[in-house]
Symmetry: C3
Subunit: 338 residues, 3 copies
């Protein structure tokens, strides 16, 4: 990807290492706006079409917030039951029509490939906010950006990282995309910990090994003491055929303060794509770690705003002039203390 301007963002496969680092560099520049040290009006008058044909509160609001923080307006739609798609309208028609109403589109849809199909009809750039089990590239970017920043705080690059990915690695779109994007870097060690039936797909393992990275497969927490990142995932129960099948994995790969101390070094950073199930019987990541300084899960969602701001700025060709439209923040905030 030579230039982001005017491009769709549909897949992690569009990104080479240089493109990823470009996004991260622009995301860094977005920090003072998200922290409310200042604000910018660079996209004042621009309109985001935030089209969530499959509802997702946090991803939708994160995209909308990112666009607002750049000064733009947001027009939204949530759900599909009443839309024209339900009356047999093609994604091409929907795209042609709705792309007349905005300058850029962020879209989620339950069907694999739907966002790419939509993009073919769209007259404005489209960012994939998730198309079923397929792709969710901004999640991979925010995860990797978080890894980069956490590593930076220890004075280290992404290269040379040891990451443990834990839980449901079969159905977890998040870990597939993150593993793919991490493989763009050098000398990564992946330890993949999952129930045997929920292992990482061979397609993703091939990406890792053919890029020359180290791959260890396990079904327990041994051998993780040198992991820099512990990336925990939710057992996505709706992916199973029955609740009974889901139940047999409940709690098996649970992480809490005691297990963390027993198996990981004190610098290991804990990540999770969220939401996590915090009910007593189903913790995949216990609340007793909430105050742990290495728990990065809420830094991940905060970083999601920065990464989405960066993508909007790059796609709309304003990344280099955001600061030309700086304004002061007049109101109370403690965001910069977070």
């Amino acid at each position: 990807m030579n230039s982001f301007t005017g491009q769709h963002i549909l897949s992690v496969n569009q990104f080479d290492r240089e493109a990823v680092e470009k996004v991260f560099s622009v995301a860094d520049n977005m920090t003072p706006y998200a922290a409310r040290h200042k604000r910018t009006t660079v996209l004042e008058g621009a309109i985001l079409g935030n089209l969530f044909f499959e509802p997702s509160t946090r991803t939708r609001v994160s995209f909308g917030t990112a666009f607002n923080l750049l000064g733009g307006e947001v027009r939204e739609t949530t759900g599909m039951s009443n839309s024209a798609l339900a009356k047999g309208e093609s994604l091409y028609d929907t795209a042609r029509v709705l792309s007349g109403y905005s300058d850029v589109i962020a879209m989620r849809h339950p069907d694999i490939g739907s966002v790419a199909e939509f993009a073919q009809g769209s007259r404005v750039p489209v960012i994939n906010g998730g198309d079923g089990a397929n792709e969710h590239p901004t999640q991979a970017l925010l995860d990797l950006y978080t890894i980069a920043k956490e590593r930076q705080s220890f004075g280290q690059p992404i290269d040379g990282l040891h990451i443990a990915m834990i839980g449901d690695l079969k159905f977890g779109r998040t870990v597939h995309s993150l593993a793919t994007m991490l493989s763009l870097f050098s000398n990564i060690k992946f330890t993949l910990v999952s129930p045997k039936d929920l292992g990482m797909p061979s397609k993703v393992c091939d990406v890792i090994t053919s890029a020359g990275h180290e791959l260890v497969i396990s079904d327990n927490f041994e051998g993780l003491s040198e992991a820099d990142i512990c990336y925990q995932t939710r057992i996505q129960e709706e992916r199973f055929e029955s609740q009974e099948m889901a139940n047999q994995y409940r709690g098996k790969f649970r992480l809490n303060q005691k297990i963390y101390t027993q198996h990981f070094k004190s610098q290991t950073v804990i990540m999770h794509p969220l939401p996590r199930d915090s009910r007593a019987e189903a913790n995949e990541l216990d609340n007793d770690l909430n105050i742990h300084p290495n728990l990065a899960i809420f830094r991940q969602t905060d970083n999601g705003v920065l990464v989405r701001m960066a993508l909007f700025a790059l796609i709309l060709g304003v990344a280099h002039k955001v600061q030309d439209f700086d304004r002061a923040v007049h109101w109370y905030t403690n965001k910069h203390q977070n």
Copy 2:
């Protein structure tokens, strides 16, 4: 209608030819804003109440976008199940309350006459975005505006037009309103093509003939070779008593490249109110016409933004000073190439 300022827009019957031409003249002035050559802040700080008690993604987003393009903010509501209306609140009360929250309201509601009833309680101007089978005046305006612009590209006025209206003319609110508004002009020829059971209501035929226009009624595609506009409509299957009744009309009035070439002249412009059903068994307007330069269906929805911008500007009394608030567009766009 002598002046638009402060007026409700509830029905096509409010419009005389002069009023229609006023809207079109203002819509022309809106083109550079929608094309992103520049932007305006004339309504910065104004609030649209976008009240869709019956959901409609494209109409709702079109109104919201039009208001954003003039610099204003949008507060929305979609659906009715949880609203106070469901608890026995009158439309009068709803209107009195909600009109305290905005400067102008766009409203859709499933019940005939509901928007007019709401307008009586409202303390701000109300635009009818569709009240059941009754009225949808902005659709008629955008259709007629599209006709005017397509004719203009051939160097011709609306007067003297030959329009073929095809499909379900009985339940199609769109064609009723368009025929009524077209009748304000001179020397129009209407060829109405439909299954016998789905013919144009006599009330609308009377409007056409009493204004002195030519009216031809048909149930097939013969005699359309001189039509300037082919206005195709969706068989609205939810209007039939049973799916069986709906099915017998499926595909009968289908338009595709072959049928178009066979029955129409090469200048005939193809229109459709959208959405169209693009499933294989039910095409009313085939995708093989998508690249035809005379296919105006997406120019219609684009024009909808211009017409709605014009109505907001006229109703709020700013049509003459939009340009006083011009600002530059700083971001990437290819909209002006559309």
Copy 3:
């Protein structure tokens, strides 16, 4: 409450008389903006997270409008079925994540105590927009602000007021909160009129009497001729165990022009928290009073915008500099005539 800046607004119990009067003083200053004499950009670039996990059109739109009128942007969510909360996410996690997306949050949720629990995880100030049967402090503030302004128009303070509260006083969260907040003032007379089974909870009666106010309990309209305020409430039928139980109270405490004239003095101001059921068989407050100058019910909802503007301005620390960001209103309005 010494200072509002950065504070959550969760309960009427946070307010002493001085705090209430501070809100009202700021609300007074907001009048020219709501009346469209001018506008302000003081919160331009700020973002409200308007999180309605339980839908409520008017309260949601009122909060959003108030924030827009101060120049800010609004990101919203409505309903809970598709949210992460339904997948077992804790309110703490939801709050940590969503508070990263805005500068301040207004929140409604069906569960008692949920908003306070959410506030503990939130990194930005939270305003309670209603947590089930528990609290709805902005409704109490707008009711009391309306009382203050209506009294003012008769040249009188809140102190010394005689208020009649009528209808379902058991389940009506509104009257509980209003009675509590009124008790901060001096020498109030409360006449509580309800079916015996729907009387005011003893907890609220204790607040009234322990503050030294006069309390009269009744089940009919006698003895109300000197009431300054008649606060009528809806029999909230969804609170009853069965429709039959609800039906026996229908119409018993109905107020119409004839009953008003018979039982109240000509200055008595009529209030109601809205929505009211305006169906013929169920009027709690008849439409024949709609043109009565003392009917304050729509002034209440208008005042709700002023009170919410005041709270936002106070919490975000800009109450004293709103006017520094004044701008002219360029568009048509008749709001100042309302």
